[in-house]
């Protein structure tokens, strides 16, 4: 008996949930007033709900089909899995997107698919959904399409015309890891596709000489995802790969997805608990690299095994290993030095820079800027405050690190 739309929605969203990407921000600003269509994007994304796993629900994240001819060990949809299979028609995905959007459940669509028949056939189906939404229904919400490596250039071009974001997952931090767990995937092919998208995205940003109009190609850029904990790569390897991806292909985001146990898991992978804290530390390190001027080598230098410290955040770990750089004078130090103080974020640093133009700042001024004095006090100097050589104390880590959790009696 054919399955109902609701049953298939359950199967095909369950199959899509291991993709961490949820962003709906950073695209062109547009709305539907006076267009006869539906939808808008106004800069920042909107998270319309949160699931009890703490992840936001911004987009309708589904697969067109979870049939797949690939057999990637970490994936719930691999061909050797006994998971239930289903498929949507492109029209059904269009209908679901429009009806969900009308009720303000979502910001748009994140559509992916298992590989069926060929790369081109699969990509053509994805593009068809986006084309229908944009041209037939005047949909102006957000669209994120998964790109199938090795799909025909004309299909990629059309995908970029309709989609805000395109993505291809690198899946594993190393080529060797991918070869072991996803034998059908070609790491070089994935990199070639990302390079090709970078060129297209950058070309689209250049106005043409004659008409001065811009071609539209994935205005919210491209992103990727790496699975953490499915192979033996350490954090230094993971982050070095991220740095190469950011530098080489201008990615907007690298998502880290703690490997999560799946139903009917491959015997190659033990059904472990996902390393959620490790995933969190990787995101923190990623932020330090992208917004705080840290190099990957600095962030991962503190430990010989190339792993980030799970007990404390990577900025604090770096500061403890580089105490000679402190205290930093909040009234004189350059922005780059302030950004390295544990407890100061980008916004507070900018607020400090603005405030100190008017007067010399004291600790209580910082308190009003919502700085946690407990965290920053040992690392800074302010008007009327010099840390009593706190940074030289051998028990400093114990003073500033988050308190150990008391174990419960069983």
């Amino acid at each position: 008996m054919p399955r109902s739309l609701r049953e298939r929605l359950a199967i095909l969203s369950d199959a899509a949930k291991y993709d961490a990407s949820c962003a709906s921000s950073g695209t062109t600003r547009r709305d539907s007033s006076g267009t006869g269509g539906l939808g808008s994007t106004e800069g920042s994304g909107i998270c319309h709900a949160y699931a009890p796993d703490g992840r936001c629900i911004s987009l309708l994240k589904i697969l067109l089909t979870n049939f797949c001819i690939f057999d990637c060990a970490y994936c719930i949809n691999r061909s050797s899995s006994n998971v239930e299979r289903a498929r949507f028609t492109p029209d059904e995905v269009v209908w679901l997107t429009m009806e969900f959007y009308r009720r303000n459940y979502i910001e748009g669509l994140f559509l992916s698919s298992g590989i069926v028949r060929s790369s081109d056939h699969t990509m053509e189906q994805l593009v068809r959904v986006a084309r229908e939404l944009r041209t037939t229904h005047g949909f102006r919400g957000y669209i994120h399409l998964k790109t199938i490596p090795d799909a025909a250039p004309a299909l990629i071009e059309e995908a970029g015309l309709y989609a805000d974001r395109l993505s291809i997952n690198v899946e594993m931090p190393t080529d060797a890891g991918l070869a072991t767990l996803a034998p059908e995937k070609q790491p070089a092919g994935i990199r070639r596709a990302m390079a090709d998208m970078r060129i297209r995205i950058e070309d689209a940003k250049e106005p043409t000489l004659r008409t001065r109009t811009r071609k539209r190609f994935a205005p919210a850029g491209q992103s990727t995802q790496m699975i953490i904990g499915a192979d033996a790569s350490n954090d230094a390897t993971v982050l070095a790969t991220s740095a190469r991806l950011y530098g080489g292909y201008g990615l907007k985001r690298v998502y880290y997805s703690a490997f999560s146990p799946i139903p009917d898991a491959s015997a190659q992978l033990p059904p472990v608990k996902p390393p959620l804290l490790r995933e969190h530390r990787l995101y923190q390190a990623d932020w330090l690299y992208r917004f705080y001027g840290f190099s990957i080598a600095e962030v991962t230098a503190a430990r010989p095994d190339g792993m980030l410290d799970l007990e404390m955040d990577p900025k604090l770990a770096w500061a403890l290993a580089n105490r000679g750089d402190f205290p930093v004078d909040v009234n004189r130090a350059a922005r780059e030095s302030l950004l390295r103080v544990p407890g100061l974020g980008v916004k507070t640093v900018d607020a400090i820079l603005a405030a100190r133009r008017h007067r010399r700042l004291r600790l209580d001024d910082l308190g009003r800027l919502r700085v946690s004095l407990r965290k920053v006090r040992p690392w800074i100097q302010a008007e009327g405050w010099t840390p009593l050589r706190l940074v030289d104390r051998s028990d400093l880590a114990a003073l500033v690190a988050p308190p150990a959790q008391q174990l419960a009696l069983l």
Binding site: A10, S33, A49, P52, A195, R244
Partner: protein, 480 residues
Amino acid sequence: MQAVALEGRGDLAEWRDAARALAMAGVGPQEVDWRMAGAASLFDAAAPLPPATRPPPRVPRAFLDLAESVVCHADPGRFALLYRLLVRLQDDPALLSMPADADVVAAARLATSVRRDCHKMTAFVRFRETAGEGGRRRFLAWFEPDHHIVALKAPFFARRFADMDWMILTPRGSAAFEDGVLSVSRDPAAKPVLDDPTDALWLTYYAAIFNPARVKPGAMRAEMPKKYWKNLPEAALIPQLVAQAPARVAAMAAQAALPPPAHHARIQARRQASALAAPPAPESLAAVREAARNCTRCALHCTATQTVFGEGPDRAALMIVGEQPGDREDLAGRPFVGAAGAVLDRALATAGIDRAQAYLTNAVKHFKHEPRGKRRLHATPNAHEVAQCRWWLRQEIALVQPRVVVAMGATAVLALTGQASRLADIRGRLSPFDPGRALLVTTHPAHLLRLPDARRAAAQTARFEAELAQAQRAAQVLPA
């Protein structure tokens, strides 16, 4: 003491008119009792407003933006705070740029909480379809904001839901959009009865997208506080999803691996058949190029995007060998398409060489680089990498059969001769290479880009062009 009664439903004009009159009358911030219309005041026998003696107050644009948010806040102290800021701004126009000032901090906090409420409204309003008349579909929503934000956010919904009629009702006002016309009321509305069968699909999605192996209810509540749950249909599922999660994870762990389904064997068989059917490699440039795509002779393939193989006719009299692909070449998969490629193109044109007639390649076929900030910086390949890649270069030479090979830069010389030499000692002279084939050494075009002195760069460029022309002449006269 001056008593001022306001409706206080987020209308900036209402406060602005009162505040302007007070300021022009020279009333100090401590002399005003701001209160809600209908509420009793301690100063019922309020004094009449003194006559205006001062010019209208002047404020920076940033203050109006701030005040527009702050008046929407539900805090009864907001009017007094704004008036205090208004009066202080007359003496200190830069006040708002002092983020550590207590009044500025207080106002910023109210504005932030209004902004957050606005954001949550755009996120958590849920439209339900109701019976409509005419061509447009009708939707109705009930939402309970913390502050008076309906008028502030209504235009957002009008821009977004343009092709349908809708109404958002809240205890702090309502907004309606009909046939493209938006109307807003600041009066409290009553909660309507709502029912939409599509909610069932949304709940299905919400339950299925949740991953029971990573339960983090605290992270969920931080962004979707419980106070919103009563109006979110999906929130009714949360307790059972959390309660069932441990059992679902345990069941996954306990499940023994099943044999793969039948279609898996068929897919694998097809894949093996197609792998066996791959044609044997003929001895052609195309075949070598194809083989080089998967080269793993040295570690550079792991960090580069792709093999950048040579480009040009299958047979060419002139072969030009550079060092290695750069950033653009690595992305595009073609040699000499970046900045150095542009220098080479100009030099070729000056030397009278048609790029399409020459064979262009590199000593090393993968881009070697180091991360520097968010850029990839060129790194010189080492002797091992050059030696490994010579495997491809020798095959290119053997198949293309050039009469003259131009080595641009020291790495190309090393790759072609196996010897590290000082470029200055061997540059610009034709020397015998293979039988019937000459080698000419010149500089690399990337070197010309790095010369800071314009005169020296021009001289070096002219020499580079002359050497290319010399190679071209030799390629035309040397016997094939």
